[in-house]
């Protein structure tokens, strides 16, 4: 009903500067707040007006500031019909499709961990969390799932 699995550990970069609207690796860096742009294996997630998380770029050719953060965080995929309910156990945002439509991404918190949350499909989410907070996040999600009777697909 909701499954948490590690996402592909591809390259990650932080892009900073006035890069909104720029073409980069086959996609347009999103200028609109809290939106993600995807092109094949690559994605650019708006984190702030001069800050994007780039996923899947082997190298980034741009005049703006780029920092390799490939090992800074870990990515997880959370999917299933009760995924949003599970996330509501720790995320204070309104995650209804109207308030948080597919393609929305944002930094936020999950209980005491900061995360980047990206809705990739109605019932599929990508979560980025700083490496040292990953065990906390996974254990917390497991605890919330158990307490609310939200099992994985196998169960």
């Amino acid at each position: 009903m909701a499954d948490l699995t590690p996402a592909d550990p591809g390259p990650r970069h932080i892009l900073r500067g006035p890069a909104g609207g720029a073409a980069l690796g086959g996609l347009i860096v999103p200028d609109q707040p809290c939106r993600a742009a995807e092109a094949g294996p690559r994605a650019a997630l708006w984190l702030g007006p001069d800050e994007w998380l780039l996923l899947g770029f082997a190298a980034v050719e741009t005049p703006f500031a780029v920092v390799d953060v490939g090992h800074r965080s870990l990515g997880f995929r959370l999917a299933g019909p009760r995924a949003a309910e599970l996330l509501a156990g720790g995320v204070p945002l309104d995650l209804s499709p109207a308030a948080f439509p597919v393609g929305t991404c944002t930094r936020t918190i999950f209980e005491k961990a900061e995360i980047v949350l990206w809705r990739r499909a109605e019932a599929a989410w990508h979560i980025e969390v700083a490496r040292s907070f990953a065990p906390y996040l996974c254990d917390m999600i497991a605890a919330i799932a158990a307490a609310n009777g939200i099992g994985g697909q196998e169960r």
């Binding site: 920092v67 090992h71 700083a130 906390y136 919330i144 307490a147």
Partner: protein, 988 residues
């Protein structure tokens, strides 16, 4: 069939019999019962002893307002005290006990405390039990605390699981009575997200106890079932029974406590017992109803005396006759609905004492005595008779008292709108003088949040039709046309009338106002006599309306009695503030999953597993777990630290510095930005070089430090203290976004990108060299940085030292940290490499006089105080904190300066934080400083300490004194660098 259960009716499931125990005795009940209804069905009214006087008490209500019937359920760690028996749902095997009695409920030794009653009146703890001095704490308080009070705390950690959830909706409706149901129907008509919550197991509120009423031609129960089915069918609607809206906070943020398993005999293991909802609503409709008021007369607290509406509820919902022969004390029309229902159920109505001179509503041919008060009762563990006395006009009449035998005495004193949540949301109640009730005021801007409306009885609207219509109008969307929806209702008897204060002709003694806190009318008049004027002061002095009860049944009567004693109108006396929670919420719900391992995130470095396998002892440093020392089997901590220090000084040590904060500063103006944020100059730092950076706040005090490496003209790798990482990034972003927004540079936290492996000691170069590709280590000077490969992985190699020895810090991507660490370890074995922990790191840096920000500094320390003036770029016109360094008090004499302290070589290390005095300490002497760091130095063979000392540098060579637990120690003031002051060892 139990003695007082009616043969049919009620909302119970008679197909199944439940067994339960109360105080060890076995009883039976049905699914749908509460503990209170099941006990009443068995003829048990005595359910508790009162808080102060140990008076026998039974349930006065049938709901959340119950002040008397507080019981404990469960045993051991699952023992839950102070539950209202009126809300405890029955399940098979339930075991409950009464509270505050010994040895038994029927024979309570503490009731002798009733003999002490004259000593335990209002404010007794301020006045009695005072002498002899100190006896209060030693003798009286412990004894009184044992005698008074509620239940006992459970015996172990809570074994249950609690969960929490955020939720968002368009409209939250609190209370699923007629007004709330209608509001939810209206609000959800167009697909809006609606939450309907009710504290009871069953939705319906007052509709559950309306056997006669018809709504739109249907019995109330049938209409209720249809309404709930219609709501449940709407996809946007969430209905939560057993859910208490306990707190209403800013901007319609409402706390909901949902009880998930307490009503189940065998809950599924692992599922949460309770769920705390943190709900944000666009609009809130409060349909919280009204609470019936008791009448205040002498001995109005015996078992068998209850609210008229509660008796109606027991009849209609649980088919329980609460007695066989009833007297009713009535001041409100709704009392006659109770009398009618009781009479139809076969309860004899002995008398209806009507306080008012005339009754306007139908009285169903019952024996009504107008202008008559109940002024007392008799009985021991159950009421046996009521004392009736005629009243004439406004004054006490001359008629004598008539004693009417009964086993049930009902009070219909009128209804108090439930304003708790409205008040918590900062709504301002206003007094309706005509009806003597506080009602929700207008929601003026600044006084109550937008989108908070009250509907039905909680705003003084009574009667089924009016409540349904009021609720429907409140639920309709804002901005749209009001439909003016009407509801056809017949057969209900709306409340009208009411009385507040002490019943005329009754003594004030033992006339209870607040049952839970055992406050009598006499206590309130006494408080006024003693000079208390504000109701807030009367409340605290008498304890009326305090604690978990929050004045649900008592506050209006208390207010009226206080107003009467003061000779002022009720609104002039004021209304006490309602505090959250509405009813008690478990600590478990508030804690949620934040217990044990999940209380705080535990952050571990990439090399944690290696240290763990090696037997490291860890310490918590903020959220991080860091290896403190690596003891050999059987080795004491101090010995391990000394061994680790010697290894670093003589051969080499390996240290996990991954928790260091790291920020990558990138952009054409990166150097200019660092020039403004650090005291040092960065413009002429060549790429490939590092510098120790000192960061001040604008007030000129040291806030952080760390090594900064320049990777390229436009790229710096900044390190911060482990604990300061987030604050430094915040500070930098602040200046970059606001004051220095002209600069083109950007910041990225890379703390977790890089694992940091420090290799320190004279053999460090020999250990690291074979692993490094792309840097000539022979030419790699102290304070250099290079991007290269180490052990085959991309790396940023720093040559830096926090020990005073030749040292390298290898930064590798975190995922490769363990592999590189193991490669260095393998390489170092032949050189005598040993891992060292944070304690050895601290000793080594203190031997060199290197400060730790936050330990040797405290937010009042300048660079000069630390002897770090050399780190200030004198030629820079400005940097954050510079202007403050020339304020007069920053240049004054007597500032605390960092020095070393040397005690006798054989003495124990000083205590960090210990005060310093100029002469051997004695009472009245002022301290001239304090110890900031203190260790035993294995290298020097003596204890060393760093201290902040007034005019410290001028005192070098002098003797100071440090008071310690075993007597004071003398110390010689020294410079802060104890080891290798020339820095000769940095090159190995």
């Amino acid at each position: 069939m139990t003695a007082f259960r009616l043969p049919s009716g009620g909302r119970i499931d008679r197909g199944r019999t439940l067994r339960f125990r109360f105080d060890g005795r076995s009883y039976t009940g049905y699914p749908g019962d509460t503990l209170a209804s099941a006990l009443l069905a068995n003829g048990v009214h005595l359910m508790g002893r009162s808080f102060k006087y140990h008076r026998p008490r039974g349930p006065v209500s049938a709901g959340a307002e119950e002040p008397n019937a507080l019981v404990a359920v469960g045993a051991g760690a699952r023992h839950t005290p102070n539950l209202r028996a009126t809300q405890v749902e029955l399940y098979d095997g339930l075991s409950a006990t009464s509270q505050n009695r010994w040895p038994s409920l029927a024979f309570d030794a503490g009731a002798a405390g009733g003999l002490l009653a004259p000593l335990l009146g209002a404010g007794f703890y301020y006045k009695t039990f005072m002498a002899p001095g100190g006896a209060w704490h030693r003798l009286y308080e412990p004894a009184i605390r044992r005698a008074a009070g509620l239940g006992t705390v459970p015996g172990g950690p809570d074994p249950d699981t609690y969960t929490q959830r955020y939720a968002h909706c368009d409209v939250l409706v609190v209370g699923a009575g007629p007004a709330g149901l209608a509001a939810a129907l209206a609000a959800s008509a167009n697909g809006a997200r609606v939450f309907l919550v009710d504290e009871q197991a069953e939705c319906g509120g007052g509709l559950l106890a309306e056997p006669e009423a018809l709504i739109e031609g249907k019995a109330a129960a049938a209409w209720l079932a249809e309404a709930l089915a219609a709501l449940a069918a709407r996809p946007g609607v969430t209905i939560l029974p057993r859910t208490t809206a306990f707190g209403c906070f800013a901007q319609n943020f409402v706390g909901l406590a949902e009880r998930l398993t307490d009503h189940l005999a065998a809950p599924l293991p692992g599922l949460a017992r309770e769920r705390l909802w943190k709900l944000r609503a666009g609009r809130v409709v409060l349909a919280t109803g009204a609470i019936e008021r008791p009448l205040v007369f002498a001995a109005n607290d015996r078992p068998g005396i209850m609210l008229a509406g509660a008796a109606r509820g027991y009849l209609a919902r649980w088919a329980v006759k609460p007695g066989t022969r009833a007297v009713l004390a009535v001041a409100d029309d709704s009392g006659y609905a109770a009398a009618r229902d009781l009479a139809r159920a076969g309860v004899a109505i002995a008398a209806i004492a009507e306080l008012r001179p005339h009754v306007a509503c139908e009285t169903f041919g019952l024996p009504v005595r107008p202008a008559t008060a109940v002024v007392g009762s008799i009985g021991r563990l159950r009421v046996a008779a009521a004392d009736l006395r005629p009243i004439g006009g406004d004054s006490v009449g001359g008629g004598g008292v008539e004693r009417v035998p009964c086993d049930l005495l009902l009070m219909a004193g009128g209804w108090t709108p439930s304003l708790h949540l409205f008040s918590q949301a900062r709504g301002k109640p206003v007094f309706d003088a005509a009806r003597a009730m506080y009602l929700p005021g207008e929601h003026r801007p600044g006084e109550a949040p937008d989108g908070l409306a009250s509907a039905g009885a909680c705003r003084g609207v009574f009667g089924l039709a009016a409540c349904l219509e009021d609720g429907y109008a409140a639920g309709e969307a804002r901005g749209g046309p009001a439909t003016g929806r009407r509801f056809a209702v017949s057969g209900d008897l709306p409340p009208a009338g009411g009385f507040e204060g002490l019943v005329p002709g009754s003594p004030a003694r033992k006339a209870f106002v607040d049952f839970q806190n055992d406050v009598q009318a006499a206590d309130i008049t006494q408080a006024v006599r003693e000079g208390f004027r504000s109701i807030e002061h009367v409340k605290r002095y008498t304890t009326t309306g305090m604690a978990t009860d929050q004045g649900k049944t008592s506050n209006i009567n208390a207010l009226a009695i206080a107003a009467g004693a003061l000779g002022r109108p009720m609104p002039a006396v004021g209304l006490t503030t309602f505090r959250m929670p509405y009813t008690p919420v478990t600590f478990g719900s508030f804690a949620g999953h934040a217990r044990g391992e999940l209380f705080e995130p535990v952050r571990r470095t990439p090399m944690h597993a290696w240290a763990q396998a090696r037997g490291a002892v860890f310490e918590d440093v903020g959220q991080w777990q860091r290896a403190h020392h690596f003891p050999a089997p059987g080795e004491a901590a101090a010995d391990a630290v000394a061994r680790e220090c010697r290894a670093v000084r003589q051969r080499a040590g390996l240290f996990d510095a991954s928790t260091l904060g790291k920020i990558e500063v990138v952009g054409p103006d990166a150097a200019a930005f660092l020039d403004r944020l650090y005291t040092n100059s960065w413009a002429r730092l060549a790429p490939g070089r590092c510098r120790y950076g000192l960061m001040l706040n604008e007030a000129g005090f040291v806030m952080d430090d760390g090594v900064v490496g320049r990777l390229a003209a436009d790229r710096f790798h900044v390190t911060t203290t482990s604990s300061g990482a987030a604050a430094v990034l915040h500070h930098m972003e602040d200046y970059l976004q606001t004051e220095f927004s002209d600069l083109r540079c950007w910041l990225t936290s890379v703390t977790e990108q890089w694992a940091v492996i420090a290799v320190q000691g004279p053999r460090a170069r020999a250990i690291v060299a074979p692993l490094v590709e792309g840097v000539d280590l022979a030419a790699f000077a102290h304070m250099s940085v290079a991007e290269c490969r180490v052990a085959g992985f991309p790396a940023r190699l720093f040559r830096v030292s926090f020990t005073g020895e030749l040292g390298f810090e290898i930064n590798v991507p975190a995922g490769h940290g363990q592999a590189v660490w193991e490669a260095v370890w393998a390489q170092g074995k032949a050189h005598g490499l040993e891992p060292y922990g944070t304690e050895a790191m601290h000793v080594l840096r203190a031997e060199k006089g290197y400060i730790v920000v936050g330990q040797d500094t405290d937010g009042t320390v300048t660079p000069d105080d630390l002897g770090l003036s050399w780190a200030i770029g004198k030629a820079k016109p400005d940097f954050v904190g510079r202007r403050s360094l020339t304020r007069p008090d920053m240049l004054a004499e007597g500032r605390m300066q960092l020095v070393g302290l040397l005690t006798d070589a054989a003495s124990a290390p000083l205590e960090e934080g210990a005060q310093i005095t100029a002469a051997p300490p004695r009472t009245g002497m002022a301290a001239i400083g304090h110890v900031t760091s203190a260790y035993r130095s294995a290298t020097l063979g003596r204890p060393i300490a760093l201290a902040l000392l007034a005019d410290g540098r001028a005192r070098i060579g002098q003797t100071v004194h440090i008071p310690m637990p075993g007597g004071s120690l003398a110390a010689t003031v020294a410079g802060p660098v104890f080891h290798d002051p020339e820095g000769a060892r940095l090159d190995g």
